[in-house]
């Protein structure tokens, strides 16, 4: 049956149409085409079927069918992800949660919003604004990306140094899990609404709590950033914070890229946690200046954007300390935003960096490694060497405060050799990130994009542990298969297997 794709499709469509309205089940090419890729558009695949449930009961119905027929299920939010996490499965159901886009409740006193997964990130802050509140994580795609996708990817943003990531701002998640079914339990208790089920039958489970914590293991920590591989989220409670009264930004110019990197460490070492701390090198500022006219100094080798927020008194105090430290670290020029319009102009260039780069090159490839801050200079030198080695340009924009790099390799996808060189370039940079104690993905996720690099970052037993964890949630491996966690077979083929010497590691070596 599995081999007979057409028969399979008609069977799945028929079953889905029995539980969903006709317009919520798409299977014809012209209808499924919009779902063939997410933000990682170099990789495309038509899904067998697209299902668009409107509520939790319909999600449950779809999952029940997938479990019964053993059909893979790929959940999708707004499709803005950059690592292919929502890349469809050829023989699977693509579950779009776009129709579940209601804010269910917003409690200004408790500072909690209960939302459905398809709600846009920015829509939460918009709804909270009349109460002087907002939802802190602000990925660059926030006007489009959905909170469900943020939960799947543990999204960050430019303010996460001070305000944390999705995992630090989501209190509770309600989700459907394809478990093995519960055995005999104690009856009453915290954590779920459905009673015992059968293997593969979806169960509604609540993770976390609107109380400060939840009993038992911290399952919410596992769910957030799990890239749709453990459960399908149907409702989310997020924490709302008081909107800072004021924000001001210092723009500091440096005549040397490494000196700018050292200035970042100096700011943190001085005991300052800026609301945002971003860095752009000269090729990046030149690209954006042509595009948005942010007024960046064109002769600077690199610029830093360093933001303070809070009460007016707090901001004044912090801006004075930041300026002092940046001056001491060798900044050649300063500008301090005098009003909101100027602050937004400073940020306009940083926020327009990707589209601006898109204008100066037919294609670009965005990397997402994170490194310990102290290695910024080293990694920049390395990237410069790679530019020469592969004959490709690479402007750099960084979330410098938390060491998250987004080098943008410029190439032309119509030239297969350039594409190949770009992939090699990116792979070498990510390997270097691991080598200096960092990670291959800071906020964009593994998806299908960085699955090979997972073989380098993790040992075979660690990958086996991840797989065992996955199967505890999803025993038949139906949720978003072949993403995130590579098989050992795949690692062996890739040739990048991470092998640590001997049975026991040497304690004198750094562990991370």
């Amino acid at each position: 049956m599995l081999a007979d794709g057409v028969f399979r499709q008609s069977e799945v469509v028929a079953r889905l149409r029995a539980v969903l309205p006709a317009e919520s089940v798409l299977w014809q090419r012209e209808d499924t085409r919009p779902y063939e890729c997410d933000g990682l558009s170099a990789y495309r695949q038509l899904p067998m079927v697209v299902a668009l449930p409107r509520d939790e009961a319909e999600v449950m119905a779809v999952m029940r069918i997938c479990a019964a027929l053993k059909v893979p299920l790929v959940a999708r939010g707004a499709g803005t992800g950059l690592s292919g996490g929502a890349y469809p499965h050829a023989n699977g159901v693509l579950l779009s949660l776009a129709k579940m886009n209601r804010i269910l409740q917003l409690d200004p006193l408790a500072r909690v919003a209960r939302v459905q997964p398809g709600v846009r990130n920015a829509a939460i802050s918009e709804a909270a604004a009349p109460h002087g509140l907002y939802y802190a994580p602000d990925p660059s795609s926030q006007i489009a990306c959905s909170i469900g996708g943020n939960v799947a990817e543990n999204s960050g943003g430019v303010h996460c140094l001070k305000y944390g990531l999705t995992v630090n701002n989501v209190l509770r998640v309600r989700a459907l899990v394809l478990g093995e079914g519960a055995g005999e339990g104690e009856g009453a208790g915290v954590g779920a609404d459905t009673s015992a089920g059968q293997r593969g039958q979806p169960e509604i489970i609540e993770f976390g709590s609107e109380a400060p914590d939840a009993p038992g293991l911290d399952m919410l920590a596992l769910l957030i950033g799990s890239e749709g591989m453990l459960a399908v989220v149907t409702e989310i409670s997020v924490k709302l914070l008081p909107r800072p009264q004021l924000a001001r930004c210092v723009l500091a110019a440096f005549d040397d890229v490494e000196r700018a990197g050292e200035a970042v460490a100096a700011v943190i070492a001085a005991g300052i946690i800026p609301a945002g701390l971003e860095m752009m090198d000269q090729p990046a500022t030149h690209a954006v200046e042509q595009f948005v006219h942010a007024g960046y100094p064109m002769d600077a080798a690199a610029i830093l954007l360093c933001e303070a927020d809070g009460t007016p008194e707090e901001v004044e105090e912090e801006i004075a300390r930041m300026t002092e430290v940046l001056r001491g670290a060798g900044a050649t020029e300063f500008r301090i935003s005098r009003d909101e319009a100027e602050r937004l102009r400073f940020w306009s260039g940083r926020k327009a960096a990707f589209p601006a780069v898109g204008r100066i090159s037919p294609d670009y490839y965005c990397m997402d490694g994170t490194i310990p801050r102290k290695h910024l200079g080293r990694i920049l030198r390395f990237i410069a060497q790679m530019e020469t080695k592969y004959g490709l340009r690479c402007p750099n924009v960084f979330h410098a405060g938390d060491g998250n790099l987004h080098p943008l390799i410029l190439f032309n996808a119509n030239d297969p050799d350039q594409l190949h060189r770009t992939e090699q370039f990116a792979a070498e940079v990510l390997e270097q990130c691991i080598a200096v104690g960092g990670t291959v993905t800071g906020e964009h996720g593994v998806g299908i994009e960085k699955i090979n690099q997972m073989c380098q970052q993790f040992s075979a037993p660690e990958l086996a542990q991840f797989r065992a964890l996955k199967l505890a949630f999803d025993p038949d491996g139906l949720l978003n298969p072949d993403k995130n966690i590579p098989s050992l077979h795949r690692c062996a083929e890739f040739g990048g297997m991470h092998i640590r010497g001997g049975e026991l590691p040497f304690p004198e070596l750094p562990r991370f």
């Binding site: 609540e206 400060p212 809070g310 009460t311 994170t370 490194i371 104690g437 542990q465 750094p510």
Partner: protein, 417 residues
């Protein structure tokens, strides 16, 4: 086999020298741990992982005999030999240390560099870093700065087969693989033996002030939630009844100007700094007299101590007993007089039903010492709030994925674990 791993009793203050001098004994120690874990797995025994022993009372602990369901006390695996700070550069905002490192040493090292662990976990005398992560207990600072789990970035653990695995790392933004390191927080050591841990640190705030207000319980809950929705540098709160009147202590932390402006705006009476430091330390360590009203050590107390976590806006709970409230209303301590296990069981059912109705949960934090009722006495309630069947089944499958032979702290989190 006798537990004989506590080879390095002195403390190290410098990571660099530490690693070299103890490399050999470190390898021996890990080999010893692995051997004992494999032996326990093969023989179907559990190991009691123990650091400073400061939280022996916590969970379905070995301190409450018979609770873990074992006929005899399990072998203790002492983690204190695996100690020392491995890496700390203040500008990286992260410290990496071995699990057996005394938390006090860690705090001192951070303080010397003008930093701290904002979750303010209790020391209870002798806590280790591993114990802090395993128990996941946060102190007063949790109200605004975050819980232990918000600060755990990376962990290496030895699994139920004696194999070493590493999850997370030393950087704050890291989404490669599942966030296992964070999920180890509060696991009560049931998923594996914690070896090395990386936790996020933050700079100490430039200014701090503690204000005191007279407010009844409903007034305090309303006021703190309103203040929390405003851009104020709130950091910790404490409410209790004193001589029949409600008293709120509120700690502010932040920039000099922000704290000064907030003091001006909020009013109240300001405590002098040393009294304030003492107050928050006493609350965190449960040395505050509310926690031992009879002036006796807590382990000989005739009252159970319940920890009830609820959404912060929850009105006063309809439960008998003195209460102390932290975290802007989110954490409610309750003392309940108890004279028998049967009575405790009935109280547990009532307290848990009350907590559950408002979306919270209740932990039997410390048990009063009761006269022995013999091996055939009634069953003790679980220390932690029971899970619903589907969640319990999922957590058991997860436990199995890490520790299939139930070697680590069997029964400590839930009896079925």
């Amino acid at each position: 086999m006798t537990p004989n791993t506590h080879t390095n009793t002195h403390t190290d203050t410098h990571a660099d020298t530490h690693a070299d001098t103890h490399a050999d004994s470190g390898i021996d120690l890990l080999a010893n741990y692995a051997r004992r874990i494999r032996a326990a797995a093969a023989e179907g025994r559990s190991l009691h992982v123990r650091g400073g022993g400061s939280k022996d009372f916590y969970g379905n602990g070995p301190a409450a005999p018979g609770l873990s369901g074992a006929a005899e006390s399990p072998e203790v695996l002492d983690t204190r030999g695996w100690h020392g700070i491995l890496a700390y550069e203040p500008s990286e905002l992260v410290i990496t240390a071995r699990a057996g490192t005394p938390l006090a040493l860690l705090q001192q090292t951070l303080a010397e560099a003008g930093q701290y662990l904002p979750c303010e976990s209790p020391l209870f005398g002798s806590a280790t870093l591993g114990g802090m992560v395993a128990a996941g207990l946060s102190g007063p600072g949790r109200m605004a700065a975050g819980a232990v789990r918000d600060f755990v970035l990376g962990a290496t653990l030895m699994d139920g087969q004696g194999e070493i695995k590493r999850f997370g790392g030393t950087v704050m933004k890291n989404v490669a693989g599942y966030d296992v390191a964070r999920a180890l927080t509060g696991s009560m050591g049931t998923l594996g033996l914690l070896l090395d841990l990386s936790v996020k640190t933050l700079p100490l705030a430039p200014a701090e002030a503690t204000l005191c207000f007279e407010l009844d319980q409903p007034g305090m809950i309303e006021q703190l939630n309103r203040w929390s929705a405003q851009p104020l540098p709130l950091s910790a709160s404490l409410w209790q009844l004193r001589d029949g009147a409600g008293v709120l202590h509120l700690r502010l932390r932040g920039a000099q100007a922000a704290v000064a402006a907030a003091c001006q705006r909020l009013g109240g009476e300001r405590l002098d700094d040393s009294a304030a430091t003492q107050l928050w330390d006493d609350v965190r360590e449960q040395r505050h007299r509310w926690f031992s009203p009879q002036g006796k050590p807590q382990d000989s107390c005739s009252e159970d101590l319940w920890r009830i976590a609820v959404p912060s806006t929850t009105p006063a709970l309809d439960l008998d007993g003195p209460t102390l409230i932290e975290w802007a209303g989110g954490l409610r301590w309750l003392r309940v007089a108890v004279s028998s296990v049967a009575e405790r069981m009935a109280q547990a059912a009532l307290i848990r039903a009350t907590a559950e109705r408002v979306g919270g949960h209740a932990t039997l934090f410390r048990r009063a010492s009761l006269a022995a009722e013999g091996a055939t006495g009634p069953a003790e309630p679980e220390a932690f709030h029971p899970l619903k069947p589907a969640m319990m089944a999922l957590q058991q499958r997860l436990k199995h994925a890490f520790d299939p032979h139930r070697v680590f702290n069997r029964g400590r989190l839930y009896r079925a674990f």
